[in-house]
Each structure stands twice: as C-alpha cells, then as structure tokens.
C-alpha cells in the first residue's frame, strides 16, 4: 500500500514540504513577506496602543490635547517606503514566476486531461494512466493540460504550482520534483458535484523504476477476472459515478444491471448483455439511459480488451 505524504505533518508551520528542485526559494519569499508583515503589524499595534493609552479620555468634557492635521515629511515617508517595499516584493515574485513558467528544452512531455471527475495521463510511449501521475525524479517534466468538459485546475501543493485546465486550449506546467515518494494532486477550479474528489497522486520514482513502469503491462492475470474487474472499478474511476449497492449516483448502479432491460432517452429499449456493456463503455453517448445525463466519458483506448472483459465479469457477479 502506497502512502501519500501528509500535507500538514511535514513541512513548516504554514507550508507543506517542498519537493521542487527549482522552486526552493518560494518558501523563502513566502516567509519574507510573512515576517515583514508581522514586523509592520507589531509596529502598528504598538504605536496605536501607545496612542490609545496615553490619550484615553478621563473626564467627559476633555478636549484633545493637540490638533495636528499635517506632517509632510512623515506623510512622504509612509507613502514612499511602503511603495518601495512592495515594488521590491513584486520584483522577487516576478523573477520566481518567470522561473515557474520557463520550460527546459530537455523536458519529458506528459499529456494531462481533466474530465469530470478524474485525471488522465498519457506518457510519451502512449501508455495511459488514470489518477496516478508517474514521473522520474530530478527530471524536468512538461505537462500539457487540457480539459474535455468544464474548467479544472491542476494543483501540486508540494511543488507550489498550479495551472488552469481549459477546454479547447492547451496550457503548460513544468515540474521538477527532487524527492521520491507519493504526493497529492488536487483540482482547484470548481467543476461540480465531485470537484473535491477529483484528486490524483503524483508518484515520483527513480529513473529505473520510471522506465520499468512505462514498459510494464498493467494487467494482473494471476487473480480471477471478476476480482481484477473489482480493482479496475476503483482504479479507473468508475466508482465516482456508479454504485454497486443499488443506489443511483451520477450514473446508474451496477447492481443487477446484467441482463436487465434498459430504456433509453430516445425511447428505444435493449437488454444489457455483454455487447451492450462493451458499447456503453466505449461509446457511452450512443444510448443514454433515461433519468441520466450524457456525462460519462468514453473509455475507448483507455481500457485494453482484457480490462473491459474483467469489468464485465465483475458486473455479472453483481447480478443475482
């Protein structure tokens, strides 16, 4: 069982651990602004407290001791000094931002596709994963992001970076993790009911493990087919929309689905046999079950035949 690094245990009081090879300075800038704010805050509170204590009204008809309405040197100082300070901070942030947006020429490219409500990753050799982004350690990786439906945003807190994922547009995000392990990925642009479940895991591996991963075939044929189907049900994200206990979710339940009579929005009907199930997985928009929205993404090319068979075995097992 892989353990995902806890965001609050590791790291500093305000920030999670930083695993970026290039953005280590981010934390320095963050704490620089923080301490500057604290110093100013303490100064402001101190001065105010002093004024409040020394000028407290003691009798109801007491007048102010003095009326002061201007002090030009003071006003110039308190305008100019903060302006210079914030421009300095702007400059630091700008430099770091350009570093975030720069793309090293030797970077490996991985395509990221956001769909309601899971992440799909396509590696240079055509391999695809859902929910796990596997990358080699200490290597720049260029992620090309796109969405197939609404806006999403791809956020890696441990790398201090995020980028919006927009339909019909490609946006780019470069990362270079310097630490092996598993880390959290969130969707940070609101995208509907399961927005908060649209998580993924960043798996940073040694170079050898990464290449082994790229080559490996994902299918484990040492276990019974229906058992493999059960695993795929969660691993491939069907669990987000289909229940196995009879309750309707975004999609219909799989309980007693096999051989049931299905009624579609266009009025036609069909028995849910193997052929129908395969079609529903590869071309979900072909027939829409009544009472549901056409939101299921197509899994064509995402599941190999063996995997589809396994899922169907599992669906059969859920019917009595």
């Amino acid at each position: 069982m892989e353990i995902i690094q806890n965001l609050t245990e590791k790291g500093t009081f305000f920030l999670p651990s930083n695993i970026s090879a290039t953005l280590g300075e981010f934390d320095t800038l963050f704490y620089f602004i923080l301490w500057l704010s604290v110093i100013f805050m303490v100064g402001l509170i101190g001065v105010s407290a002093w004024f409040l204590i020394t000028s407290k009204r003691k009798s109801s008809d007491q007048l102010a001791e003095k009326q002061i309405t201007h002090n030009i040197p003071l006003e110039i100082i308190w305008t100019v000094v903060p302006t210079l300070l914030v421009l300095f901070i702007f400059w630091l942030g700008f430099k770091q931002y350009m570093l975030m947006r720069s793309i090293p020429p030797n970077a490996t490219t991985i395509y990221v596709s956001g769909k309601k409500w899971f992440w799909e990753f396509t590696y240079p050799n055509g391999k695809k994963t859902i929910g796990d982004l596997v990358v080699p350690v200490n290597t720049p990786v260029k992620l090309i992001l796109s969405s197939t439906d609404v806006l999403h945003s791809f956020y890696l807190p441990n790398l201090r970076i995020k980028r919006d994922v927009i339909p019909n547009r490609y946006t780019v995000l470069t990362i270079e993790p310097a630490k092996i392990g598993n880390f959290r990925i969130f969707c940070t642009e609101y995208c509907g009911d399961k927005h908060s479940n649209m998580l993924a895991t960043l798996k940073v591996m040694s170079n050898d493990d990464y290449y082994a991963f790229l080559k490996a075939v994902d299918f484990d044929d040492s276990i019974p087919l229906s058992e493999a189907g059960k695993q795929l049900y969660t691993k491939k994200g069907c669990v987000a929309c289909h229940s196995i206990d009879g309750s309707p979710m975004v999609g219909p339940t799989w309980k007693n689905l096999y051989n049931a009579n299905r009624v579609f929005t266009d009025g036609s009907e069909r028995i849910a046999d193997e052929a129908y199930l395969i079609e529903s997985i590869n071309y979900p928009q072909a027939h829409i079950v009544t009472g549901y929205q056409p939101v299921m993404p197509s899994y064509q090319g995402l599941l190999v035949d063996q995997e589809i068979t396994a899922i169907i075995e599992y669906i059969k097992e859920l019917s009595d």
Partner: protein
C-alpha cells in the same frame, strides 16, 4: 413633536415613502434579512465541513449552499450595505439637505432591490444554483440548476445599485449646504462619492456580462462555451472587470465610516483630510485596471505581470489611510464606546486582510495560494473584518440618530468580543490550511485538514451567538431603550444638529457651514 417615524402611519406609508430616512431604514431591515439568510447558509457549510466526509448535506446541497451564501452576501448584503442604509439616511443630513436629489428614484432603487431579491430567492425554490457566486463558464452554461433565475436576480440588483449611485452623485453636487465647499465635506460623503462613480461605471459591465451569459445558456450563441466555439476566459475578464471594482464598492464606504468614527471618538481633526478624500477617488479610478489579478493561473505572463504591478500600486492609498487613522489618535481625547471598538476591530482585521493581500498580489505566491482557503480567509478578513465591521460601527454610531434610542453598552461590548473572537477563530486557521494546500469549494477533504476545519466551525458558532446577542439588545433598544440626545457622542458633522430621531423635514432652517468638518478644539496651544 412628530418625527419621521411617527409622521405617517401604516405599512403603505412606508412602502411608498419618498423620505430618504424611511428608505434607509427599510434597506437596513432588508439587508440584515439577507445577511441572516446568507449567514444561515454559511453555518450549514461550516457544519458540513466539521468532518472530512458527508455529515448533513449531499455534495449538490453543499455546492448550492456555498453558492447561495456567496451570491447573497455579495449581491444582496455587502454591496448595498453601507451606501443604501447608512448612506441613504445620513448622507443628505450630513450635507445639510432634507432629502436626496431624486427621492422618487431612491424609492425606485429600493423597489428594484426587493424585486431582485425575490428573484434570487425564487432561484432557491427552482432547484438552487451550484456554480459559485462567480458563475464561471462553461460550468454555468451546462449545469442543470436554476442559473438563469439567479443571474436575472443579480442583473436586476445591479440597477438598484446604479440608481443609488446616480442619486448620490447628484445629491453631493447640488445639495450641499451653503458654505460647504468640496473640501468641507465630511469624509463619509467623499467615500460615497467615490463609490457611486464605480457603481455607475462598472455595474453596466456586469449587466452586459450577465445578459451574455443568459443568451449563451438559453440559445447557445457561442461566446463563452468552448464546445460551441466560445472562450471561457473571456467570461472571466468580463466578470472581474466588474467584480474587482466591486470590492471597492464594498470597502470605500467602510473607509468613510471609519474616518467619522475615529474623529468623533478621539475628538480630533482627521490627520490628512485631503489625502484621505483624494485617495478614495484614486482608488476608484485605479480599481478599474487590476481585474486581471484574479486570473494569474489562466492568463499570459505579460498580462499577469502588468496586473501584479498595478495591484501593488492600488494597495498604497489604502495603506496610507491606515496610517492617517492611527495618526489621528495621537494626543486625542479617546473614549472607548462600542462604535470605537468596531473602529479598532476594523483596523486590526483590515490590516491582516491587507497584508495577506500582498501574498496574493505577488505573482509566484499567488500561483500556490490561488483558489485555496488562504483566499477565502483573505477576503473574509477584508469584507467581514473590514466592511461589516465598519457597517456595525456605523450602525452603533448612528443608531441613536436613526431611532432616537440608546442601546445597552454592556451587551454591545459582549457581542463585540464574541464576534471578534469567533471571527478570528473561524478565519485565521483558514490561512494556515490554505497555504498548506487545502483547496476552496471542497465538500470532502483529506483527513489531515480535519482539525483546522473543526476549529473554524466552532468559531462560526461563536460568531452566530454574538449576532444573536446583538439582535437581542437592538430589539430591546427599540422597545425600551433610553431616549437619545441630539448629539450623544459630541460629534461636529451636520446630521447631529437634527433631532433624534429627525423630523420628517430634518432641517427647518438650512444650516450654513463656516468651517471644515472636524474642527475640534484643542486644550493646549503651543
């Protein structure tokens, strides 16, 4: 002797009055009604977040609750809050006038507000809406909830805001008492002037955006939805072109109230009158140029860089105002009554909101913090700690004038401290969890954030108790409060020359102004 409350009787005499004071009072009850609904939705959201998984709401209900909360708090509560209530009641009196320039338009603005509010509430019964108050496309053009109804509501509310703005600008230009030059005008009036400029220039952009959104949703004209050739980022530009200036619609009037409070309770002339007055106008103008800082994660490098610089520059005038208020306290004669406590609360919380704004204005730190709870905490410090605190301060300050009754200082202080402690408990932890990586608008969350969320939720209950205490002593004040004098705090602006509560025609003789607004005396002359 009759006053504006006893002048006429019956519900209709209120609903169709053209008296700015009565309209202000009706607005007051309406916006606090809206605050109660929005607050209830917030309590539901916080309760749901007490545990990482489902507690009382489904995902859809949760999303509807935070959308309802955000939309109501923004469009129905905080935008009209100070201008439409305190502004309506106090502004003409402060200028020495007996009403606003266009009393009928004023009433129309209130009726339009009520219509807009009803349409928004209708959307709850039509299945609610789950897009977030920002209505980002293409989610908002594709979800099956009552988006159009809510958007029509927001569209209508915009007109109420425009009408108030037009009215205030005309009032300030034409109805100042003889002798009240521009630079003898109280700072509250200045702040409303700056606010009105934004209201009439920015709100039409919102209206256009919302109309386009409705057209897109109903007829698919292909402007925002990429599936039919539109551009979702265009919507964001349009939306923030209004909504960033709108945050100054929220905060500028608050700054005006704060200037009144600090002078009255320290018996001091304000430090840097012209700097404060002019910086309001400067903020109003620059606020139109920074909308892009909401979109660093979706726009080009060049655009993000420009917007970041401009954002820092617009922060400077606000910072300068803080220094001015603190300097005003120096060698004053300070009395710590409830309105002044809200001034201090404002100062503390607004400064925290301002400093955390620097984290968000800075390009690289923004990328990490954008759309996390850090942002949620930041804008609550500014809107709740800033605007709402100033509103409550102003309400306690002008309450004796508006209703002719005092309230219990003792309970008022209790309410203040409950709200102050509850607020910091609710929102300070959100900075920490946000910078640790907790995204906003999350129904479920990973277990490690549970402790922060639990502290935050308990804080929200303390805030609620604080407001209940406030409701109790304010109702008691109306029923059996001690009678208020004309000028209980010893302030100098013109509204305090009228009776408490004012007569229907507040000034039987038009006052003549011969000095600046905060011309307090000093005990020593060196």
């Amino acid at each position: 002797m009759k006053n504006y409350i006893t002048e006429k009787k019956g519900l209709l005499s209120w609903l169709f009055t053209k008296d700015h004071k009565r309209i202000g009072i009706m607005y007051l009850f309406s916006v606090f009604g809206a605050f109660a609904v929005g607050g209830f939705a917030a309590l539901l959201v916080r309760l749901e977040l007490f545990t990482p998984d489902q507690l009382i709401l489904t995902a859809k209900q949760y999303n509807q609750s935070f959308t309802l909360h955000g939309a109501i708090m923004v469009f129905l509560f905080i935008i009209p809050s100070i201008p439409a209530t305190l502004g309506n009641f106090i502004l003409p009196l402060q200028l020495g006038a007996n009403d606003v320039a266009f009393p009928k338009l004023n009433l129309a603005s209130f009726h339009v507000y009520i219509l807009g509010a009803l349409v928004c509430i209708l959307s709850i019964f039509m299945g609610g809406i789950d897009t977030g108050w920002t209505f980002y496309t293409p989610y908002s053009t594709t979800t099956d909830t009552a988006v159009v109804t809510m958007v029509v509501g927001a569209f209508i509310l915009g007109f109420s805001s425009i009408l108030t703005g037009v009215n205030f600008i005309a009032t300030i230009h034409y109805l100042r008492a003889p002798g009240m030059t521009w630079f003898r005008m109280p700072l509250f009036a200045w702040s409303l002037y700056a606010t009105s400029i934004i209201q009439i220039l920015a709100t039409p952009v919102l209206a256009i955006t919302l109309v386009l959104l409705i057209l897109e949703r109903m007829w698919g004209i292909g402007i925002f939805d990429p599936a039919i050739g539109g551009d979702p980022v265009l919507f964001q530009h349009f939306f923030w072109f209004y909504s960033h200036p709108a945050v100054y619609i929220m905060i500028l009037p608050a700054m005006g109230v704060i200037s009144e409070l600090v002078t009255t309770f320290s018996r001091k002339n304000i430090f840097g009158y012209k700097a404060i007055a002019m910086s309001s106008i400067a903020i109003a103008v620059i606020s139109f140029l920074v909308w892009g800082h909401h979109m660093y994660t979706s726009e080009s490098e060049l655009a993000a860089t420009l917007f970041s610089i401009l954002t820092f520059l617009v922060a400077i005038p606000s910072g300068v105002k803080i220094f001015n208020w603190i300097a005003t306290l120096y060698k004053g004669s300070i009395s710590f009554e409830t309105p002044f406590l809200y001034f201090l609360g404002f100062l503390f919380l607004f400064v925290i909101g301002g400093f955390t704004g620097i984290f968000l204005g800075t390009l690289s730190t923004n990328i990490h913090l954008h759309d996390t709870y850090f942002v949620v905490a930041h804008f609550h410090y500014v809107m709740f700690g800033g605007t709402l605190y100033a509103f409550l301060g102003g309400l306690h300050y002008w309450w004796p004038k508006m209703f002719g009754k005092m309230y219990s200082e003792y309970l008022a202080k209790w309410a203040f401290w409950l709200i102050f402690i509850g607020f910091n408990m609710t929102f300070f932890v959100q900075f920490i969890m946000g910078s640790k990586g907790m995204p906003r608008r999350y129904y479920n969350y990973v277990d490690e954030f549970a402790i922060y969320h639990q502290i935050s939720t308990v804080g929200s209950w303390i805030i609620a108790i604080g407001f209940i205490v406030m409701l109790i002593y304010l109702v008691k004040s109306l029923r059996s409060g001690k009678k208020a004098d004309k000028n209980p705090w010893g302030a100098l602006t013109l509204e305090w020359l009228t009776d408490s509560p004012p007569q229907y025609h507040a000034f039987s003789k038009t006052p003549v102004v011969t000095s600046p607004p905060y011309d307090y005396k000093a005990s020593s002359h060196e």
